[in-house]
Structures are given as C-alpha cells and as structure tokens.
C-alpha cells in the first residue's frame, strides 16, 4: 500500500493552466479521481509500463483532463458570467446607496424645514390666539361699554341683593355687583364667600361676608360639602344672613348671572308673600327636544334656584330654616333619589308652605333652559324676552375658555348668532377674565 501511495503524490507537470479560480478546483478534484482510477486498474506492485518508463499516472491524468476540458470551459464561462453579474449588482448597489444617501440628505433638509415651519406655525397660532383673545377682549370691552351706555339706570332698589361665591368664583360676584350697580345704582350687594381663609380682596363692588359669619358651624359645612355644592348649600343661610343685615326684602341671585333690567317686577311679584320662586319654564317646552328638556327640568326641579326673592319676615325665615335643615346634611346631585343639590327642595318647599309666590314673567330669569322657547329682542340695555323686559340673564354652564358655547350642559343650544345675547355673553366673559385674572 505504501508503494501505491508513492506515485499518487507525484505531480507530473502542472495541470493547471492558471486560467482562473475554477481550474484550481478542477485540479484538486482531478488529483483524487486519478488516484481512484489507478486503484481501479488494480495495479499492485510493478507494471510492464513502469519498466518501460511510461508513467501510468501521467497517461490517466491527461485522459482525464481531456474529458474534463469541455466542462471546465463551460464552468469558466458560467463563473465569468456570475462574476460579471456580481460586478453589475455591486455597481448597482453602489448606485442605490448613493441615491439613498441623497434621499436621506433631502429628508434631513426637509425635516429641518418642517421643524422650522412648525415653529413658525405654532408661533403664528399663538399670535393668532393672542390676537383673537385681544379681539375678544376688545369685543368684551366694547360690549360692556354698549351695555353701560345703553342701560337706563332705575335708581336704588328697595332690597338687598345677595349671592354666594368662593375665591375661585369671586369674579362672578364682581360681574353681578357691577351689573346691579348699572341698573340699580346704590343697591347693596352682599356676597357670601365660602372659603375658610381671609383673603385680601382689594376694592370690591360688593359687601363680602365670610361663611363663618353666616352659619354657626362653617367648618362642619366645609367638611360635608365639596366645591360648588358648598356654595349651593349655603344659599338659604346666605339669604337669611342678608335679611338680618337689611330692613327690607332680599333678592338672591346665583353666581353666573347678570342683572340686565329692572328687578322691580321681582319685588312686585313677591308682594305680601314670604318667598317668590321662578319656574324654569312658564309654558310647556317646545321643539324636537321638548320631551328631554321637560324631563330634565323635572329632575332638576320645577323652580330655578337662581333668582329667589324673600320678604324680611318671620315666615320667610321659617322657610329658609326649613330649607337649610335639608341641605345642611345633603346637597348632592342624585336625581333618581329626587336630589338636585339645593334646588329640588324648592319644589317641596312650595308645596308644604303657604305663602310662596310663583312668578311666571318670561323676562324675570332667562337662562339656557328656557331661552329656546322665548323670543329675545332689543338692543343691549333693552333686552326683552317674549316682549317682557329681561331682569336677570343667567349664564349657567358658560365657560370663558369656550366662548362660543352658551352652556356646557347643552353645547348645541343656540349655536351661532344670538343677537343682543352675544353682547351680554361677551361682556360677562370680559368681567370674569378681568376679575379672576384668568388666562383662557
């Protein structure tokens, strides 16, 4: 076996023509195949040819190379084609890479430009909002001026006005007091403030009174009632407090209101009664949403708690004490249990007590709940509802930050132009922003 292996390691001249990488592979494979051929012939030991000096291995090698030549040529051609393709692809990839780089550059430049544009837009938006707000403020100031100039003063009212606010809603007391001064100059306005800290309120158009002066256990009231519920719950005691500070009757006007016309009809309606209440509506609601609005009113209470007149009498104080007893423990919104903060109790009050006047004048208390049923007319200072002078405009649910929506409770109500009402809305917003320092 050792003798057989000797020749197999013998290289009889170069078999590779150095034509390319394919041939070197052929040579390596050919070497092994030649060894196999020699083994097949079965030579063991010396052969006749060996003695004649002819290399058996060289003969087989040549024959093999001859047989292999066409294949190697074809292989070389294929390899060359592949190489050409690879070179093409490589070139194409390089092109694409260059193109992608160019696109990336364009994108980067575009992004930079977009960023600049966005900054510019944001800045323009802020400027536009600022301009819009300035325009609204100017509009509000103009509206106030129009209302100031257009509203005839009627002289002091033989009554005290009272309201309830917190520090957060104190601008409402400003707006109310200024509107009272406009219509009934010299009429006293008392605002009960529910917060527990003395606040430096500066110069005020109303007489402030802290809840501590109004109820004996203000701390307990604050602990029981959250936020706006406390302001609502304080209503009966605020009215009683105002009666104690005055000789004559008191008209309570809830926050989110402006007096726009004479309050004398409210006092006239009170007459000799102890209390005067104003229903939300004075006729069946009409329109597509009549059923829904009717049920909403039933859930909230027949009488609106926004304008209430009280005589300075023992009978009125008894009613207010009865009302206070009921809201002291519970001033919640739970309509299925018949509760709507302080308001629903008024329905019961009017049923159990004699001496409650029901005022059905369409101008006495105009708000989002009845505005759709009434025809508003007249210029600022002379607003009329169904031909009756409007005494109090109520802006319940108005958010100065969303100035085009009359009330958040019914965002679609009276969308669009509302005539003189828009002037009052602009003026009311202006008052709120001026006196709360709010920046919408």
């Amino acid at each position: 076996m050792t003798a057989d292996r000797g020749p197999s390691r013998h290289h009889d001249g170069p078999v590779t023509g150095g034509t390319g990488p394919g041939e070197s592979t052929g040579h390596a494979g050919g070497g092994a195949a030649i060894d196999d051929l020699i083994r097949l012939i079965g030579t063991t030991g010396a052969t006749p040819w060996a003695t004649e000096g002819i290399s058996m291995r060289a003969i087989v090698h040549r024959a093999y190379l001859r047989a292999l030549r066409p294949y190697l040529r074809r292989r070389a051609e294929v390899d060359a084609a592949i190489v050409r393709s690879l070179r093409g692809i490589t070139a194409e990839a390089a092109g694409l890479r260059a193109e992608a780089g160019a696109i990336r550059e364009v994108l980067r430049v575009t992004e930079d430009r977009l960023e600049t544009l966005a900054d510019a837009l944001a800045s323009a938006g802020a400027r536009a909002r600022g301009a819009e707000e300035r325009a609204r403020r100017a509009e509000g100031a103009l509206a106030l001026h129009l209302i100031d100039a257009g509203t005839p003063a009627r002289g002091a009212l033989d009554a005290t006005i009272c309201t309830v606010v917190s520090r957060a809603t104190i601008a409402h007391a400003h707006a109310l007091a200024r509107s009272v001064e406009r219509v009934h100059p010299g009429t006293r306005v008392i605002a009960v403030i529910t917060d527990d800290e003395a606040v430096d309120l500066g110069a005020l158009p109303f007489v402030p009174a802290h809840l501590d002066a109004v109820v004996a256990d203000a701390h307990a009231w604050r602990a029981r009632h959250d936020g706006i519920a406390l302001e609502y719950a304080a209503t009966p005691d605020a009215i009683r407090f105002a009666l104690d500070q005055a000789d004559g009757p008191v008209i309570f006007i809830k926050q989110e209101s402006m007096v726009v016309g004479s309050l004398q009809p409210v006092l006239d309606g009170l007459g000799h009664s102890a209390l005067a209440l104003i229903p939300h509506v004075v006729a069946a609601p009409t329109g597509d949403d009549a059923d829904e609005r009717t049920r909403d009113i039933l859930l909230a209470g027949t009488f609106n708690g926004g304008v209430i007149a009280a005589a300075n009498s023992a009978a009125a104080r008894e009613m207010l004490a009865w009302w206070s007893e009921r809201v002291r423990g519970e001033c919640v919104h739970d309509v299925e249990r018949g509760r709507h903060f302080e308001q629903r109790w008024l329905d019961l009050l009017a049923a159990v007590f004699d001496g409650v006047a029901v005022l059905r004048g369409p101008g006495l208390n105009v708000g989002h709940w009845n505005i759709g049923d009434r025809v508003l007319s007249g210029a600022p200072g002379h607003l009329r509802a169904d031909g009756h002078e409007v005494a109090v405009l109520r802006f319940s649910g108005f958010d100065p930050g969303v100035p085009d929506v009359l009330t958040r409770y019914a965002p679609d109500r009276l969308a669009g132009s509302r005539g003189a009402l828009d002037t009052y809305l602009a003026a009311f917003r202006h008052e709120l922003i001026t006196h709360s320092g709010m920046r919408p």
Partner: protein, 400 residues
Amino acid sequence: MSAPVAWVTAAACNYLPQVRVLARSFTDHHPGRRMTVLITDAPPPGVDLAAEPYDVLFPDDVAIPPGWLMTHTRKALAAASKPHLMRHVLERGAGGVVFVDPDMIVLGPMTDIDTHAIRHSLGLRPHLTRPGDRTDDALAFVEDQVLMAGMFNGGLITASSTPEAAAFLHWWASVQDQGCAHDLQRAEHFDQRWLDLAPSMVDDIGLVRDPGLDVAFWSMPGAEIILAGGTLMVDRHPCRLLHFTGFIPEDPNTLVAYFGDRFRLDAVPAFVDLYRAYCDALAREGRATWRAAPYGFGTFEDGSPVPDAGRRAYAEMGAERHRFGDPFRTGRGSFHEWLAAPADDGAPPIPREWMEAHAHQPRIHGMFPDPLGEDRHRFHAWIGSAEAREARQQPYLMER
C-alpha cells in the same frame, strides 16, 4: 248659578268593588248625586251597568287614542286616562271636575271641594300639607318618597273650565302618549310626577290643604290621628276622604304593601275599624272574584296574552305602527305576527318580543348579556322555560 261639579274616577274591572264602594260613599254624603266612572277596560261581563251606583264611560267616550289600549298596561291606562276624563266632562258642560282615585272612600260632605273646583283653574293636593321636622325618620322617609314620586297626589285633582286648565289637561295627556310608568331616571312616576310642572304652566292653582282630605300614609308623620265621637280626626279636622293607597285587603295589617312593615295598621288604632269596614265592603262587592278579573285589553284576538314588552315595542314604533291596523288582530301583517318574528337572521331564532323584553328588563339583560351572540343558544332555550313564561307578564319597569 254655575253648572254642577262632576266627581269622577277611572279604573279597570279588577277595581270594580273599590269603585262601587267609593261611588256609594259619595252618594251617601251627597244625596241625589252620582259619580262618573271611566272603565278603562272592556265592559265587565255579567254586569248590568244601568244598575251600578255610578254613571259609566268607556275609553272611546272620552277620546282616549285607540293606540293607548296597546301602548299602556292596565295600570298605566287607568292612571293616564285622568286628563282625558276630566277634559271630557268639562267639555260636556260641568262647571268643575273633581277626580278622585278609585281606592278612596268619602266620609263627609265635600261641597267645599266643589267650590274649590269651580274657583281655581287647577286644584292640587300636596302629599305633605305642612312643614315638618326632618329629624323625624318617618317624615324624612315620606319626604324622600315625595321627592321621587311627585309633590302632588294624583288621587285628588280638581279642574275648572278655564282655557289654562284645558291647556294643562291637554299637555298632561300628551306627555303620557308613549306610556305611563314608574321610571325615576326619566322623572316618571305614572301620571303623577308630571303634576310637579303644573305651577310652571297654570297661574291659578289652588292647593287643597285640609288635613282631613286624601288621608294616607303620607299624612301620618307628626299627625294626630284619633277617633272623636266615632269620627276619624286628622290634626283636629274630620277625615272626609280616606285614601287606601297601597293597601291590599288580603294583607290587612300592612297599611302600604309596597313598603312592607314600615306602616302597620295596628300602629294607628283610629284606622282599624275603618279599614276593617272597608275590607268588608269590598268583600260584599265581590272583591274575591273581581280582583282576578281578566283585562279586556290584555289579549290578542286569538286569546294569547299581550306581553308588556310588546306594549313598549308598539309605543316606540311611532307612526310606523299604523300599518298594522288594529293592534290586537292576529294573522298576516299583524302586530302580533311582527312581534313573534325573529329579531335577526341568526339561528336559533330570538323573537322580537324577547329582544324588547331584554332591552327593558334588567334581570333578563343580566342573564343574557349578549342575546344575539354568545348567549343566543342559552337565551333561546330559556325563552321556552316556565320562568320565561312568568317573566313575560312582568312589567318592564317596576310598578307599584
């Protein structure tokens, strides 16, 4: 001299004994006068109406819309018919009308109420006639009930022939056009809660405050209720109109069945003899038979019961329902057929009636949250059960 005042009530045949007792008690104290009763039902079988102690009207006579016989349950039809009945007698010349609930008895002369009915456009009776101390649990309970059910009792209402009274009665009828139920979320307590809005619409409302009238559980907190010389006195006023609201003669010690043990008859000794006498009078008038009287508008033409869910579906259809013609008819193109048809194309089929019941009965909704999807097979199987047959006749909203 003004035209006479009509005293009226309305009830289905199952309340015939109550109506008889009331009508006789009225005539006892007002010789020569008879009450007028709207029977919100088919004519009572086997009864000679001419021999009854009252004059009779039927829904057709007072212009109750025919659709109401389908849209309103038995209880709802009787309750909602009040404005139609009152308007009818006023239009026929009465100087005033006094509506009283059928479960009342008259115990004294009521001429002051006749006068009240003529004098005011509308006369209303507050449940609570005077202020009380809310720390009294019984009063707090009644106040809470009143806030939910309405300030004024629908059991005693007067109206005169003024235009504002007519307008109010018209409105009161119109708001009950789709039905009349107990649904606190929608501010509805049968016909009654709507009365809370009367002060919004009517200038001339006279409140009836005499503590001796419309005496019921709501009169009790803080009141002195005694017998004086055989007369029932409430806060020193003779009781002239007693209201057996919520009282079931078969459970005679419970004053108000839907409040359980809260109001016991033995807690008001002055009531005991009157309540017993009332039970006896009802028994004599055939209570045992009439309480189970079938409702004349309770079945389709073929005798199958009209489910409450069907009534609701019919009400919600609006004008579309006119295509069925008579809603009690059966057969091709009838409402009966529509109601029994599958609600969708899926299998197994779920009839429309049961989808309607599903929408309005929280219990059914709770059992089968996805009735046409995941729960369809279970729902379908349940519909055939005895429990479902029972539920079929349950009111879709709690009635009491």
